[in-house]
Symmetry: D2
Subunit: 303 residues, 4 copies
């Protein structure tokens, strides 16, 4: 497979989509990013990485961090997390309280905000420092010791975090958080604030293509659990557009409101695409288009 050639063909094909959609507006640190960026990277099974466009420029990973937090909780504490969070698609907007009320404080899956708060709470209990553990893992896997939180993003999220606070207090009222709500919220916001490039994300997610093996060849997760994360990404990874993403792209993926998307072709490679313009459901317009084109071009989808 000529990864570099494929990336360049994809980048050419989606020129018209770049800049479309709207950059996330709810915090200044995201709203000030230009919509015109586009980068894409592929990391193969051997850790070779290919890229196109702005593929080395850091962006705010936001909800992409939820994939890594889930993996770390499973790596540290095993499957007991599934007693506190489901793995069904949410069927409504990504931060809805309605479903949470009807289901007694148990979030539908680990990739909606409520579910990620539960995962963060569990990671905090298991490790004592949920955000630092995540950052250390991402640095190691991407072989990039310069990865860092963006304090301006984390603080800005805190300032605009009333709705996440509502979710957290609501789950606390059902007894589904072990740590104090402000602690959970802080680690959650810091996790979202990590700055990474497409290159970094594609490398960091390599264990999902390698069925659980880390970059150094040690095992992070059993094969079965790595496959299960992919399954949850496919059914729940792109907010209320998971069905459409499966239909168009046909790969496990997880998007963030920073405009990044990580996607996995199990046994082959991990991809990351970034373009800040979002569609109405919070997914990168050019990013989804690029993944769609890539799977059509290569014939690689899980279906």
């Amino acid at each position: 497979m000529d990864y570099q050639g494929a990336l360049e063909e994809v980048a050419a094909a989606v020129q018209a989509q770049i800049g479309q959609g709207q950059v996330a507006q709810y915090i200044p640190a995201l709203a000030s990013v230009s919509a015109d960026h586009f980068g894409m990277a592929i990391a193969d099974m051997d850790g070779e990485v290919y890229g196109v466009g702005d593929w080395t420029q850091p962006f705010s990973i936001q909800s992409i961090s939820k994939t890594f937090s889930l993996a770390l909780v499973l790596a540290h504490g095993g499957e007991v997390i599934w007693e506190r969070v489901g793995r069904e698609p949410s069927g409504s907007s990504f931060n809805s309280l309605v479903q949470l009320e009807y289901e007694n404080g148990v979030p539908r899956n680990p990739f909606i905000n409520a579910g990620a708060l539960v995962v963060t709470d569990r990671l905090q209990t298991l490790t004592g420092d949920a955000s630092t553990v995540l950052l250390d893992f991402l640095r190691a896997e991407s072989n990039n010791p310069n990865l860092a939180f963006d304090p301006s993003v984390a603080l800005s999220e805190t300032d605009h975090g009333d709705r996440n606070a509502a979710l957290a207090y609501f789950m606390a009222s059902y007894g589904n958080l072990d740590n104090p709500v402000p602690t959970v919220l802080q680690h959650y916001f810091w996790q979202c604030s990590v700055e990474m490039s497409c290159r970094d994300v594609a490398l960091a997610g390599g264990f999902l293509a390698r069925h659980g093996l880390r970059a150094d060849g040690t095992r992070l997760l059993p094969r079965r659990e790595a496959k299960q994360i992919n399954a949850v990404m496919l059914t729940c990874g792109t907010y209320d557009a998971a069905g459409d993403f499966a239909y168009r792209v046909g790969l496990p993926g997880k998007s963030g409101v920073g405009g990044g998307i990580i996607a996995v072709i199990p046994g082959r490679c991990t991809l990351c695409v970034w373009s800040p313009g979002l569609d109405a459901r919070g997914n990168s317009v050019a990013g989804v288009a690029a993944l769609d084109y890539f799977t059509t071009l290569t014939g690689w989808s899980v279906f």
Copy 2:
């Protein structure tokens, strides 16, 4: 009208209901109250007050305070509050987040918790000390300078206040609170913690029967606004049982989970009944029965 005779007949008639239902369990200070209490008081238009049973024993007024907070907001700031809270029955359980989400953070009415938080927020803005203003008003109207908050209740509410915190942060996310969430919550919990007897409550609510006139004859509210509070009490005052309360009792009323209920016969008198055993919808079993019997006995209902 022989109020004293009527009260004694009512008390005799509801003996079988006293002790039925369940005392509120969510905070220790309420859970430790015996279910066997029963008291009832009537204050007539001249401020004469009649009572039976435990009518002089203080209890936690809890949500009855919502009636007084609303009156004080209207008295201080007029009808602008209706832009931030509705006056329609909620049609679901009293602290549901669902309706709040579908209606963009505007609570259905001032007598559900979410609505009362907005009222408290407004009273705080108008007066600078929402809970003290309320206590001062209650002391003056009941002519009882010993009325006080119960700190153990207020602190216990705070400790078990995750769900109210969720409601408050949720509304804050829609911009429907002016003061910091912790400030609003504190004043809300202190308001709920006031200890009053049936005698005190009946006297303090006299302005609702007197079409807006305070105990000292000065005007708290225009006649129109006093009637409107009664209307909101009738349609929204007893959680998700407002229709049933109107059907059985036929009076404006507001209940609290401490087991108290205030009810109004406009132009005639204000009543307060207290018995801690609650039905499944949070209203005093013996209290509702007593009001039902009283209106049947006297033929006084608004219908």
Copy 3:
């Protein structure tokens, strides 16, 4: 009380509201009515009737019929109906299926469409001909043997009745209808199609002011049940605006999408107002304004 003078003052006061709002559009027979009509009538306790404007012109009573159907079911079969329909405000739009699903096919109250279908089903079981029984009752009480169904309305409702059919089949799936769905729907649509004037409606509703006594002095309902119908009208009679109607008008009332509203001042009189322009919640704009003005003018409200 100078009823005639009051009516004329009200009519003058609401001139600016007449023609406002929008005439019901969902069936041609209603959509073709001019919005510029206004009529109002009062029937006192002795059956004297006063009127102003188009008070003798027939209009489609639509949901006002629900009040009479409920009264007839209670008169024929007693309170067992309350096992199959609630009496709580619905808290959402008047034909919502959501609440019905969460409450297992038991409608919230007899004045939303679902509840009225249950009442019609019960009246059909009790009498064998729910619509004729209703028409006969209305003719007798209004002393107008010419009252009739409007077949064009009834057939048009049938043609546009998919949503009511959905409600009926949905309740049937919970076992909450005894008769075949098409039978229930037919009687329901015919009941809605009765043509009456303000004069007719005010007279026909006289039993609600007379605490259950019919025009001929015989008893239709026990005093208690007549009061209870008034209570349900106040809390549930004007769709999702019941709280606001209680707040502004302060009387038991029931509106119809034909633009009519019946209202009751227990012990004094029954009113009917008609003006076809509806507000966003389906109530007559000029009709509500007229009742609001009337209660302000007379000081007669239940609060």
Copy 4:
């Protein structure tokens, strides 16, 4: 791959699950089936078929028919169907009206009942006889001219079809059905009543593994559309357990309340398993267990 050996190993492994769960109770024709059946079949890319247990015994395919109806609509009429039905997981129970109301009569996906009614309506419009077209297709693909509807099932579904009627009338009220509701319901019920064995289903679904090619080598669907059906099956095919099915089994699948499940390994084979005992979410207990074991045994999942 030794398909026959794998099937026998799977059958041995799930013995403890056979008979668990509860047979569908809502119609007599399904309730009378013994829970103790178990059959499983695999059809490879060349149309060779392997089986174990009761793999040649016909059962009621029920909702498995929804997969074939969708394929036929796409084959006849192309992608315009996606304007009338979504492809997102429903996030609630499989016949809920709630989501339908919030989304204005457009069902979430073609595999919930509401969505299948829309697909049937479209197939009826395209072909003039939706149920016969389906039967003819199934006979041809399974090379079994004896396949037939079970009239007792179809009529029984009609007798117990109030909830589906409610769904259909509800969508009709939004203009989302072209044919008369009774026509759509009839074809829908007949489609569900087809009797097939595991052998028949595995063969009939071969086009899903062959990327759109029929048994005779002609093309039913473009490769892209075949993949898209697989994607919708994965995200929406097993009611409110789609996430869990993806997590455990990791294959596109569609279940029916008759206890059958069809599953696809694109490019390799199509499977059908049948065992009538259902879990709380309507999926075959032993069937899901068998597919789980099979994918673990073979290492074949899409993740």
